[in-house]
């Protein structure tokens, strides 16, 4: 079943590209809002890296800025981001709600997300493999803010998952 779905998606394929000047990073800023009981996050990608990845994976073949107002595309973005930026709490994946997309003129795009989490949350597992499928050099990073303290977590091809403990110490 999975293979069938993949076959439908994979219209395009491209070998490992040697083109110059790609950027290969995504950053996320996450914060546990204790008042609302939600994890709030902003995932920042290089726009043309993400567009290229969407194109090569056969997901979408248009600029993000042209699609950000499109209801159908919005759902695709939400699904795609949740695949590359997924959160597991108590063994269950919590789906992020995509609340907004900001395509910046600097060449970066912000995806603003939030998700409700159990009030007893003490730790969460993050898988941040966004764009790693397309770019072998992709390296991602989360900066997690908890009670005014910031901690960073790196994600690489051989380290796509990290446990984040909600404390002021890493």
């Amino acid at each position: 079943m999975k293979l069938k779905q993949a076959l439908l998606l994979c219209i395009l394929f491209v070998t490992t590209s040697l083109s110059a000047h790609d950027y290969f990073f995504a950053f996320a800023e996450m914060k546990y809002n204790e008042v609302s009981g939600r994890i709030e996050a902003t995932v920042t990608v290089t726009t043309h890296d993400y567009e290229r990845s969407m194109r090569e994976r056969g997901v979408l073949d248009q600029e993000i800025s042209k699609l950000a107002d499109n209801e159908e595309a919005y759902a695709i973005f939400q699904s795609d981001i949740n695949k590359g930026f997924s959160m597991i709490v108590n063994g269950k994946q919590i789906i992020f709600n995509l609340e907004g997309i900001e395509v910046q003129l600097t060449g970066l795009t912000n995806f603003h997300l939030s998700a409700e989490v159990p009030s007893s949350i003490t730790k969460l597992e993050m898988n941040f493999n966004l764009l790693m499928e397309t770019f072998i050099d992709q390296q991602n990073k989360i900066t997690f803010i908890y009670r005014n303290s910031k901690t960073s977590y790196e994600f690489l091809q051989n380290k796509k998952t990290q446990e984040i403990v909600l404390s002021n110490e890493k």
Partner: protein, 764 residues
Amino acid sequence: MKKIIFCSFVACIPSLLFSQSKFAQLDQELPTPNGYRTAGGAPGSDYYQQKADYKIAISIDDKTQILSGEETITYTNNSPDKLEYLWLQLDQNVYSLDSDSKLIEVEKMEDFKSIGDVKKKLFHYDGGFKVESITTTSGQKMSYAINKTMMRINLDKALMPKGSISFKIKWWYNINDRMAVGGRSGYEYFEKDDNYLYTIAQFFPRMCVYNDVEGWQNKQFLGKGEFTLPFGDYEVSITVPSDHIIGATGVLQNPNNVLTVEQKKRFEQAKTADSPVVIVTQAEAEQKEKNKEKGTKTWTFKASNVRDFAFASSRKFIWDAMNVKVGANNVMAMSYYPKEGNPLWERYSTKLVAHTIKTYSKFTIDYTYPVAISVHSKWIGMEYPMICFNGGRPEEDGTYSEDTKYGMWGVIIHEVGHNFFPMIINSDERQWSWMDEGLNTFVQYLTEQEWERGYPSRRGPAHLIADYMRGDKKYISPIMTNSESIFQFGNNAYGKPATALNILRETIMGRELFDYAFKMYCERWKFKHPTPADFFRTMEDASAVDLDWFWRGWFYGSDNVDISMDNVKWFQMNTMNPEIENAIKKNQYENRDKGISEIRDVDAIKQTVNEADPAIDDFYAKRDVFLVDALDKKEYEEFMNKLSTEDKKLLNSNKQFYELSFTNKGGLVMPLIIEVTYVDNTTQVFRIPAEIWRMYEYKVSKVFILDKEAKSFRLDPFLETADTDLNNNSWPANEEPTRYELFQQKKMNENPMQRQKRVEEIKN
């Protein structure tokens, strides 16, 4: 909060437990100066560089997309060494079936999730060089060995100093479909009109650099670390379909053979025009797309003192040009683009080329090449001498988004800027990507800001690099890392060095000192091969600013900037005047915090025993501790008599003392830039050089003596140090909003889709 200090001198005992590693000089890291490269960072009296001249004839088969060529290389040995063999680069072999580039990819089974992944991994494209022969100019075969992307030619007789040798190479290769295979060069096929657009580079066996630093620079090409090449003179003849237009490194030698009368006339007009003149119009290009010619034409170009040669060829090309005056030089700024690039390209490309070479010339060296060309090439940006291939394509309906426009502007400025780094200031890209990408990105930022006020530059301002610099140091490479081993190439080789230079210019050195030293580096090393040490040394030597700590922290290290303002203590001068000081004490006593029982007892206890019985209170109970008595006055008078007029003035000046404590949490030392806001809402900025950390690398304090009472302090108020945590930069504490919170603050009550629906309703 308020504390009282006494007029006394306190002897400070410095801690013996300090280290000065962050400020240690770079003696061990830098190579020993010598006759080739001086301690001041300039070329030495023995400096030499090799020369490689090329005479090349190639042809492109538009049906098979095969490039065939023959070249005669004349190599001159200006070194003091005898050379038993020569090394050439076969960069196209990165597409050979046995290329290491794919073999060294790290893989896991989870990478094979779909049939597309499997196809991608099994896809093989044979794009390597097929070397047919290598001979002397008289036709004798020469012995050679190919090691992946490098080729050694074995010389029967060593090439002696000042000697030169000429030899011939014949080869061919399959040009890569850039849209499918990727790559810096290749072809794009336009299915709608059945035409090709070729952007061709690394297409011929090229001499390696031989120098005093590495001997032969024959490090394999793996894909990231780009090219390092000797200067030389080129004569290149290119045979293509007769209706093609070619843009190339150098000057066209045979316009009479390849251009129409009308095209030549327009080209002549462009030579003196201060805005773009269209040499081949869109209508003419579209006509050629439909009616393809069958014959071929040969275009010949010559280029002097360049390190490489590239070109673009297509019948789809629209071509425009204008003159740019740079110093005493007239430069032709030109663009070649298919109709798919319009309307963006006809409007901006050539003007951006002109602006870029003018602005770079101001900050570096005068551009001395005769042409500067921008070619439209979908999705990529890649640079060669005098010519570059740039993305930025509008939609098929001719519309484009604002980010596409800025993307196109940025890539053209960047790639044209590469003419300076590394095409003229010819650093070793295979070894140090930052020396061209970083320096170029820095000047790109300056150029963008002169193109449009408030240009949304991606890189340059310090705060934009903070995300990259924070986190686990294991996964952040120092800038001084070989090009192939860098984590996060874009941020490491482009963003961080560009930011570092901007910080040097704005914060550490100041614009005047920086600009002079930076220009000096460019002047010293134009048309030469600089190394990192030459750059570091020149920047110090020409400015009298010891920057070893900066190079060590920003270029040799992976620490980040996170300086926290831990504490602010407020003091005022003790006037020693009992009338004033006792009044303050009395006021403090009366306004002290009172316990709940004390407050309630005021009303609850109508009368205490001592209030009812006067005999209870003794001397101590009756004494007014705040009363100024004769002895207090006498002692004050004696104290004042000992002071000079100046001392008295200072004592009565009402100075406010603030002791600020800082912790260097990130490890990277930086200046302390502190903005104080006074109670009257005026502000003042203090700049403390980074050397404050030289003895105490992790904790320092500083006393600020102010004329007015302060309301708040803020560290790095202009976001100029790349501080990765702004939440610990303020007193009183101030938590910076997250990006999500900022988004929520500015978000409209309706989402973009709801707004769009309302727009549609108005339309209907």
